[in-house]
């Protein structure tokens, strides 16, 4: 068995670090994309984004329940996937209504970004209330279908290794859906006329207006995309873990950290930032004891858990990365501010 130690160590790491971090990173990246789009086009930090995600997820859950009561399921896949497009459309519509009723006034007044930020705090309160009012503050799981793609036991019996690898279907789903979404978004921003006008508007508002770009249309499209992204991110997170309004509110910090670390306003940066934050969070809170037990000879085995930080402090990690990046490179990894 001596020779398999390295393979075992790698499988262990894949099971507890790489796969979870990849799926969590995809969720964060999608969420950070929403924040970064609002920042690039509407030019403010949207504090309501976490609660927008919760709202979208709530709609998806309600539709899922409706479908389940009709006996409509997606077989091995979670029913929430059928509900997702409907929830995306409804959340986008909700975003448009919010913009029309609340944000539009301040845009016409040409208010300062910080006023928008405070307005978004008000919106956050209201969305929070709506979500808790309709679905309640409790933890909910709405996952159905096949839970695992590879089970640890099957993996062990198949390979004969003592270390098992289990991959949840939600993890793979998250990664696949996130990749498709990101590719579609980047195609939209780079290749289509609307996407190009959005980038132009975000780069230089006055010049864009002079070239005949309709600002109302740009803002509208932005909100639709933001609503859809928030719903996808929220549903994927909820499927993978569970849905609880307060957790979604708390995601605000890693989401913002991801957007800022990558360079706020830059979509590529948001994606990179999402994975950076997720990987650091998982890697720094994982206890490496077993990993080193495989790699090191018996007499050198570590005595402690070999954990850098306890999981209680995962918020501290996004914060510390944020501070380090801000101090060393205030613009973020990819220079931010425009699409």
């Amino acid at each position: 068995m001596e020779n398999y130690d390295l393979i075992n160590a790698i499988i262990l790491l894949a099971n507890f670090v790489i796969v979870p971090a990849l799926s969590y990173g995809s969720q964060l990246a999608l969420a950070a994309l929403g924040i970064t789009l609002v920042y690039a086009v509407l030019r403010f930090s949207n504090f309501a984004h976490g609660d927008l995600m919760a709202f979208g997820t709530m709609i998806a859950i309600l539709i899922t329940w409706l479908f389940q009561s009709w006996g409509l399921t997606a077989g091995v896949l979670p029913t929430a996937l059928i509900a997702l497009p409907f929830a995306m459309a409804l959340t986008a519509a909700f975003c448009l209504i919010t913009d029309k009723v609340i944000y539009k006034f301040y845009r016409e007044q040409k208010s300062q970004p910080v006023v928008f930020m405070i307005v978004s705090v008000g919106v956050m309160f209201i969305m929070n209330a709506i979500v808790r009012f309709i679905i309640g503050p409790k933890d909910r799981t709405f996952f159905d279908g096949e839970k695992f793609i590879i089970k640890a036991v099957e993996f062990k019996s198949y390979t004969g290794l003592p270390e098992g690898l289990s991959i949840k279907s939600t993890q793979v789903l998250t990664i696949v859906i996130a990749l498709i979404t990101m590719m579609a978004l980047f195609y939209f921003l780079q290749k289509t006329k609307m996407g190009k006008s959005m980038r132009a508007y975000s780069n230089n508002e006055d010049l864009a207006l002079l070239s005949g770009i309709n600002p109302d249309r740009v803002v509208m499209i932005t909100w639709i995309i933001v609503g859809m992204l928030a719903t996808i991110a929220g549903v994927l997170y909820g499927l993978d873990k569970s849905f609880k309004p307060f957790t979604y509110f708390q995601l605000l910090l890693p989401m913002f950290a991801a957007a800022i670390v990558g360079g706020i306003g830059n979509p590529l940066g948001a994606v990179a930032g999402g994975y950076i934050i997720a990987f650091s969070e998982v890697m720094l809170t994982y206890a490496y004891k077993k990993f080193f037990m495989y790699l090191l000879p018996t007499n050198l085995e570590p005595s402690g858990l070999m954990q850098f930080l306890s999981t209680d402090y995962k918020f501290a990690i996004s914060f510390i990365i944020l501070v380090i990046v801000l101090v060393i490179r205030p613009t973020g990894i990819f220079r931010g501010k425009t699409l």
Partner: protein, 457 residues
Amino acid sequence: MIEKYRTQLAFLVMALLLIIVGVAQSWSVSIGIFNLCIVSAIMAMGVNLQWGYAGLFNAGVMGFTALGGLVAVLISHQPIYEAWSIAGTGMLISLFIVIVASISIFYISKHVNSVFKKRFLIVFVILLAAIGLGNFYGPSVNLIEDINPAKTGFLGGLGMPIIFSWVAAAFAAAFLAWIIGTVTLGLRSDYLAIATLGISEIVIAVLKHEEWLSRGVKNVTGLPRPVPYEIRLQESEWFINFIERLNSSKLSAIETVSSKQDLLNKLVIEGSSIYVKLCYAGLFIMVLAVLFFLSQLALNSPWGRMLRAIRDNEVAASAMGKNIVRQHLQVFILGSAIIGIAGAMLTTLDGQFTPGTYQPLRFTFIIWVMVIVGGSGNNLGSIFGGFFIWFMWIEAEPISIAFISLVTSGLDYGNPIKMHLIASAPHMRLFIMGAILLITLRFMPRGVIPEKVVRPR
């Protein structure tokens, strides 16, 4: 007419609201709300100093409040000598390591010129400190937390009167603000908001999980009070006589001796709770008055004018030779210190420290609503905002339950929709807060009591 007496009118309405609660519910409830209103008003004044005077968005009010609460515990709780004797040296050595590491990092970042060398040295120092802490800190923590975990399991405090903590909390919060401010104030303004949001979550995480320091989610209860206890009052001769004299007309109307005694007992119990709350109210009013006086002085001083100048036009102020980052840091520290005081007062009033109850909506964003609704830049406005919003926060629940019962009165009892709506009624208070904030921002962007713009003639 209304414009001229706006301030007076606002406070009159507030007083009426409290009196209505006193008559309709009970005076004890009304004074209880009043006390928390004062604490909220002080927090709002702290945020107003940062936002109203200087335009800094601090989204970490909760962290400073909780830190103030921790200081109240550390000052007033009896020291656990057993824990100190077993693990005291280990903890002191750890503290020493942290201090030495911080000083050397500070020194390196000031005096080493090469960027590469600087970063290398800082990482090196952090690694050394981490190894040192692993040897002393971890084992000591386990030792402390093992001592009688059901009752203590932490280091305890200094055993001093809790009122001292109000001053100490100001210094602790100021120190934390100094650290955050030094790192983030040079950067764009949104970053301060995110950074403070982060630091407040971290403070709460530390308080929840570092049990040797704060007992974590096991809570510290029974903190000593600066005011008398109800039980003592109910037993003391002078208090009973005092209540008897106050209610002499009511008592003399009753004829039988035993029912007279029953009524007196009831009145004494009720009176003792009101008396205690009034004592708190007296202390709190003094703090509020002192802080209000100082804030007004600062606002009208050259320093206050300079801050407003920076807020309204950073470029111009900087061209006049004002060091913007430095002034921002100053005001950020001062505002946070005031929030820290309010945090310690809150824990004093509760008599217990419960890290689990600190929630950003309740302790950060509500305070923001207070400042915006009251009128940013105006101290009286913040005080009014603190009173009004806290009042709404407390009374929103009965109001929304009454409202929902009215709306659903057509449905019969046990109807699932009705049951769900009534159970969800408490969440309406968030909705009411958001609505108040948005309506104020739209129709009264400068608040109920707007900032006075003083122009020299």
